[in-house]
Amino acid sequence: MQILNFLTPDILYDLARGPFVWASFVVFIAGCLIRTIRILSLTKKWEPTWNIPKPDKKDLSKIKKCPLARIKLSVFGTSPVTMVISVVFHLLIFVIPLFLLGHNILLQEETGISLFSFSQGATNVLTLIFLFCALFFFLRRILLARMRAISTCYDYIIFFIAIAPFLTGILAFYQPFNNYQTMIILHMLSGELMLIAIPFTKIFHMVFFFMGRFMLVGQHTLGRGTRTW
């Protein structure tokens, strides 16, 4: 443990705020690129071996006229509450960190550029909504028999990796335990852990979702699909 003695909170803070951020971004971007290229190399261009008739214009207009019927047939129809909460959760997981005032100030300091930011109050409300969605998923996983039937320790670990940056972020802001420095260090470290975890874990569904639904040809491809395994 003596080797770790030099890791005073101040040094840990500087590390987490500086080199660790850049390192985790490099791992995140490189990892996602490598995995995406791997899927591309494992799949090949798909040409239909038969002629797919162009859909009748009249049929198309019918579908366009009743989008509700289509939505009802999808998971939005079978699990509406879960899906609405899921969409909000997945939007917020991007929106909150990207448009957070504190993050953009840091970005401005480091690179000279920054994105639009919400006010701190708005971000706090969004984070609480995000944590509520997370709580819903957590309860769903422990209470529903069908979720328990397929849940493993790994699912819980991934869940906590995904919500830890938000939880520690809000705790650092409100400081209910009067420990800003510990929380902000945990916040930075957990955010970095999440970035690193994305390409190597189930969280990669962030990228795979688009490939699985739009690119790979299958029963439920949205659009025509262009590649096959």
Binding site: S151, L216, Q219
Partner: protein
């Protein structure tokens, strides 16, 4: 059914042929259970989780990959139930991520069939209706 030794070399060879795609699908499955309602057998069995598409591929192909084909007799029976009795391979299951569930169950069937494990209709309890 008599005790049956799986030919692990052959099983591993068959698993290896599709490893990249199947491991990818198994790894991407978020264990979210949203595919449940798309299976008519799940709906017609009182929403029994064992009829959920993801339960069926995790506990058949997933087990085969995890154990590299070295599985016990009772697991063989469990896999058999998951891929034949609980699935008609009607290919209607729907995963929001586009995971090709039927292809996973089909591969598990091919592997088990190569090992002499398949439904035999003169066998007791071969079909739930025979119970």
């Amino acid at each position: 059914m008599e005790n049956l030794e799986l030919d692990t070399t052959q099983v591993k060879k068959m698993l290896g042929k599709h490893k990249a795609k199947m491991k990818f699908y198994l790894g991407m499955c978020a264990h979210c259970s949203l595919c449940a309602e798309s299976c008519f057998l799940f709906n017609s069995h009182d929403n029994d989780p064992k009829y959920m598409p993801s339960y069926k591929f995790i506990n058949s192909l997933g087990t085969l990959y995890k154990k590299k084909g070295r599985i016990k007799q009772e697991t063989v029976e469990e896999i058999k139930a998951n891929i034949w009795e609980r699935c008609a391979l009607c290919t209607r299951c729907y995963c929001p991520f586009g995971i090709d569930i039927p292809s996973m169950i089909a591969l598990a069937r091919s592997i088990m069939r190569s090992q002499g494990v398949y439904p035999q209709y003169d066998e007791e309890k071969a079909h739930p209706l025979a119970e």
